[in-house]
């Protein structure tokens, strides 16, 4: 069979799975007064369609910011506006000011789901296909396998098509950025990434590696000659892109300031709900939020994040290769997720994207992490009534990816790049590290299954109603911490293999 037909079958399969998930419930379905993210997106369509641009981010009589006020950068708002125009054509009731609040109908659900699918088809899926074909190595069949697993990653599908969000857009734009950088089109890449940043501020998790990679590359080319030209070109691109996105808000400084204030809601606290990051997990032992003042919490998290990001960034700065760049993306986004301020459980998707990029290089570790990341959002899926899609897609992803990459067979110490650990634990030379990793993998998968089962089947102890969510988040946190350490060690230890060197040329 030709490659094109395999690829189209893969894409069709992934789209089918996406649409299948989207037939399920969404967040906050039939739960007045606040509903959920679905209503938030619909509300933004209503607001952007009916109000002038100047009022979008301000609390006015027509725009109650306490009811799902816009808190994403302008590109999200424009996207909502575009969707609103289409919605208006189909059924004006969907975006009527005030009256449409909490509007729910099967036709509207279909419309909203379709907008997600269209955005995905236009941005995320093409980027993934191109990435797998141009920037991952191996035979064409291997590339198809990578593509299939990449697109079947359950976390993103469940959040976008089940819970309801447009992560595919921002992640897709970031992926276009990675793709362009990998192919050597630095200006285009930085433009795509700026657009991603303007779609969701959370893309800042990826900003540092992009910055370091481009800076390092320019420095390498000589800061006086071609490097400077490259740097200026990139800077101009970024500034122009930002200016274009923010054009309506630039006329008045108070406007821009208000947008920034909405985007970074410092007042919302160190963390909300149960997130699998350091602060929430530490909270089990020490109640940080009552011990420290709000400001010191902010500084503490800032300092910790910086410390965690620094090593990989510096490494990337000195060695700006594409392989390092991918690893730095993982490290930076994970560090942000684990240590930064006001993190959502959904932000783990930002770390999952770069891990997906590594599926072909470090299959076992990538699969393990992706599985854990989906698992960390399990309480959310349960709340949205997505238990069955969650179980099915994650089981399918686990089996399919381990089978296609033969991840468990290809898990020698070399292939897992455990050399760094060997150096760290030089006192224990006799241990078979690869075997330990494999066993840890099995145990962790079984534990995830068991935890999912108990959460669904058993009532929590009466004194601790949040017992299971906390357990899930602490368990996932351990995985994420381990992954962060692992990828840092890989980034520092492994001399990039011949394959990845070839890629950079």
């Amino acid at each position: 069979m030709e490659t094109w037909s395999l690829v189209s079958i893969c894409v069709l399969l992934c789209v089918t799975v996406r649409w299948g998930v989207s037939l399920n419930s969404y967040s906050g379905a039939g739960k007045p007064p606040m509903f959920g993210d679905y209503e938030a997106q619909r509300h933004w369509q209503e607001v952007t369609y009916n109000l002038p641009v100047q009022e979008w981010y301000f609390n006015t009589t027509d725009n109650d910011l306490n009811y799902w006020g816009l808190d994403y950068p302008p590109l999200t708002a424009y996207h909502s506006l575009l969707c609103a125009h289409i919605a208006k054509l189909i059924n004006p009731e969907w975006v009527e000011l005030h009256k449409s609040r909490g509007y729910e109908s099967s036709a509207h659900k279909l419309f909203m789901r379709a907008t997600v699918l269209v955005a995905d088809l236009l941005i995320y899926i093409p980027a993934a296909v191109l990435y797998c074909f141009y920037l991952s190595d191996g035979s064409s069949k291997k590339k198809v396998c990578t593509l299939l697993c990449f697109l079947l990653y359950p976390g993103l599908i469940l959040i976008d098509y089940g819970h309801f969000q447009y992560n595919g857009v921002s992640l897709g734009l970031a992926l276009w950025g990675v793709l362009a950088l990998g192919l050597g089109w630095d200006a285009l890449g930085s433009m795509a990434f700026s657009l991603a940043l303007n779609y969701k501020q959370m893309e800042l998790y990826h900003a540092l590696p992009f910055f370091c990679y481009l800076l390092g590359k320019s420095v390498k080319q000589g800061l006086m000659g071609r490097g400077l030209f490259l740097l200026v070109k990139i800077a101009v691109t970024v500034v122009v892109t930002f200016a274009l996105c923010w054009l309506p808000f630039l006329s008045d400084p108070s406007q821009a300031l208000q947008v920034v204030r909405r985007i970074f809601p410092v007042a919302r606290g160190l963390f909300e709900d149960k997130v699998a990051n350091t602060w929430c997990s530490l909270n089990v032992l020490i109640k940080i939020r009552s011990v420290l003042s709000a400001d010191s919490q902010l500084y503490l998290s800032f300092a910790c994040t910086l410390l965690a990001v620094l090593p990989s960034s510096i490494r990337l700065l000195t060695k700006p290769t594409f392989w390092q760049f991918k690893l730095a993306l993982v490290n930076s986004s994970l560090a942000f997720f684990l240590f930064s301020y006001q993190v959502h459980e959904k932000s783990i998707l930002l770390a999952s994207l770069p891990v997906c990029l590594l599926l072909n290089d470090l299959p076992l570790m990538a699969i393990w992490f992706l599985q854990a990341s989906t698992f960390s959002m399990m309480p959310l899926f349960l709340k949205d009534g997505l238990l069955v899609p969650y179980v099915v897609t994650s089981l399918a992803f686990l089996l399919l990816s381990t089978y296609l990459f033969s991840a468990l067979e290809h898990s020698s110490e070399d292939e897992l790049r455990l050399g760094g650990y060997r150096k760290l634990f030089f006192c224990l030379p006799s241990l078979d590290l690869a075997c330990i990793v494999r066993w840890k993998f099995y145990i962790s998968i079984v534990a995830m299954a068991a935890l999912t089962f108990t959460t669904v089947a058993m009532a929590p102890p009466p004194r601790l109603p949040d017992f299971f969510p906390v357990l899930v988040s602490v368990f996932a946190f351990l995985h994420f911490l381990g992954t962060l350490i692992y990828f840092n060690i890989v980034q520092f230890s492994s001399p990039p293999s011949r394959k990845s060197q070839k890629k950079n040329n």
Binding site: M1, I9, G20, L23, V388, L400
Partner: protein, 520 residues
């Protein structure tokens, strides 16, 4: 090898646990309730729901078994009076039961794949006929749509059929016969292919030897084998129908199983010969009225697409009665049956005859449902991976047959699913079969390609353009009509092509000679 198919198959089927409201969903819930809460004597009399039990007793026993599991999910669904009961646990249970019963299909597929002949074993998994067959069977668009999006237990039933075919391919005829007897008692629609089984078993199993010119050697008849077959078939029937015979309910059961009061065609015309016949009738009437040859008032008032199941009359052409369809069906399968009687070509000949029987009954049967085309498509998959010509026919038949299932799913939410699944299956079958038989030119004749491309035009016109036009309100049945007529052409064509292959293998002269000698 099978692992991956199986897995993907499960993903797909499970993700579609949609809260669908198809009628068949309520049908099976009602049957669960009937078999669970009523005594045996009431099973075939109960009619508080319009969806009365109209499958043979063995299937009722199957539902009875399921109902004991269902009780743990939601006891309310087992109440006969609770019509349209649709709680989430009920839906979950029903969907799960389909998936679990499909395991039999997976097993049957594995057995079939073992029987596939491979000319030169390819190292490339994707080019192995057995792999392609596995995908074609497990991923079959029709089965996915009918079972998992709509709601029925066809996967399980086809599992039994394919298993029985596989047993015949492996020359384990008694097991094959047993399975087929069970199948007939699960769903009597498989009577369509019974002629193939009957003739084949009689000819190739009960006669142990052939003459040198492969005509039947009467002296080699083995009564023991016939008796064994008879015992098997009778005992299965006794187990299934026995209790009802004892209760004296056999006529009632049979009247439920064969409801000849329904019309010639289903509400949506299956793409068969009668669809063409109906259209011819309508066209003639319209032409007649236009040309002032006919008076509109004189014509019988009848609408054959009235929506509900009802009897209809033709205006100009003679109306068709059940007996006419029976004769047509028998005539259409007669040459195929004769051919395997005269020139038995082993299990493959039998398989071809089976496909022809299924197609013949589909084309000429009374009140045929469009889903019945799967009965020809699935067994033909086995032939398709072995021979080039069959592959070409398979592509035409599968594509048209599957497309004709489109009207089964009509809600907007299902539109993407059916299009995606159809595209996926069609793309796979075309590319996989082409690469399997690569190096000998195209599998399809250019005209066939044009016909199949026309299907795309029909699809776009019917699914997307037509609902936007004002005619949707006045003539809502026109797209259905266009679909069934266009697909009927393809199905008839495949039927003729299959016959041509079959008869070119037998010398036609011997067939004619046989016929004449019989008449004398």
């Amino acid at each position: 090898m099978l692992f991956i198919c199986l897995l993907i198959f499960f993903v797909i089927s499970r993700v579609f646990r949609v809260f669908l409201h198809s009628t068949d969903f309520e049908v099976h819930r009602n049957w669960l309730a009937i078999t669970h809460s009523l005594p045996l004597s009431r099973w075939y009399y109960e009619n508080s729901s319009e969806w009365t039990l109209d499958y043979p007793p063995l299937f009722a026993w199957f539902e009875f078994g399921l109902s004991h599991v269902a009780r743990r999910f939601d006891p309310d669904m087992l109440d006969v009076q609770r019509l349209q009961h649709r709680s989430p646990p009920t839906v979950l249970f029903q969907r799960l039961s389909v998936v679990c019963s499909d395991l039999l299909l997976v097993f049957a597929t594995r057995e079939c794949c073992r029987c596939v002949r491979e000319q030169k074993p390819s190292r490339d998994l994707l080019k192995r006929p057995s792999f392609i067959l596995a995908v074609l069977l497990l991923w079959n668009f029709g089965l996915l749509v009918v079972d998992h999006v709509h709601f029925q237990y066809n996967g399980f039933l086809f599992g039994v059929l394919l298993l029985s075919v596989a047993k015949h391919l492996q020359s384990r005829h008694l097991q094959g016969a047993l399975l087929f007897a069970v199948l007939l008692n699960l769903k009597h629609i498989y009577l369509y292919v019974a002629p193939a089984y009957g003739i084949y078993l009689l000819r190739s199993f009960c006669f142990t030897q052939d003459n040198t010119d492969s005509s039947v050697r009467w002296s080699s008849f083995s009564p023991a084998r016939l008796a064994a077959l008879g015992v098997i078939v009778t005992s299965v029937c006794v187990v299934s129908f026995g209790p009802f015979v004892l209760l004296g309910q056999l006529p009632q059961v049979l009247s439920r199983l064969f409801p000849f009061k329904r019309g010639l065609c289903h509400a949506y015309w299956a793409p068969n010969a009668w669809a063409l016949y109906n259209v011819l009738d309508k066209t003639l009437v319209t032409l007649g009225v236009r040309l002032k040859l006919l008076q509109e008032a004189e014509l019988p008032k009848a609408s054959m697409t009235g929506g509900l199941v009802q009897e209809s009359q033709h205006a100009l052409l003679p109306s068709i009665s059940p007996s006419v369809t029976l004769v047509c069906t028998l005539l259409s399968v007669l040459p195929a049956a004769l051919s395997i009687w005269l020139r038995p070509r082993g299990a493959r000949g039998f398989l071809r005859c089976l496909v022809l029987c299924a197609l013949g009954s589909f084309l000429f049967g009374w009140h045929v449902h469009e889903k019945a085309v799967l009965m020809a498509v699935l067994p033909l998959s086995i032939l398709a991976v072995e021979s080039r010509e069959d592959a070409g026919i398979f592509l035409v038949l599968a594509t048209t047959g599957h497309y004709s299932l489109f009207p089964l799913l009509f809600t907007p939410a299902e539109l993407p699913i059916k299009i995606l699944l159809m595209l996926m299956f069609t793309l796979y079958s075309f590319t996989a079969l082409t690469s399997l038989f690569s190096g000998h030119g195209s599998l399809l004749h250019p005209l066939e390609v044009v016909y199949l491309l026309g299907l795309v035009v029909v699809a776009i016109a019917c699914e997307i353009v037509y609902p936007l036009t004002p005619w949707q309100q006045t003539l809502p049945f026109l797209p259905l009509l266009a679909t069934s007529v266009y697909c009927a052409l393809g199905v008839c064509y495949s039927f003729v092509r299959l016959y041509v292959i079959l008869l070119s293998e037998t010398e036609p002269s011997s067939l004619l000679y046989f016929l004449f000698s019989e008449i004398k």
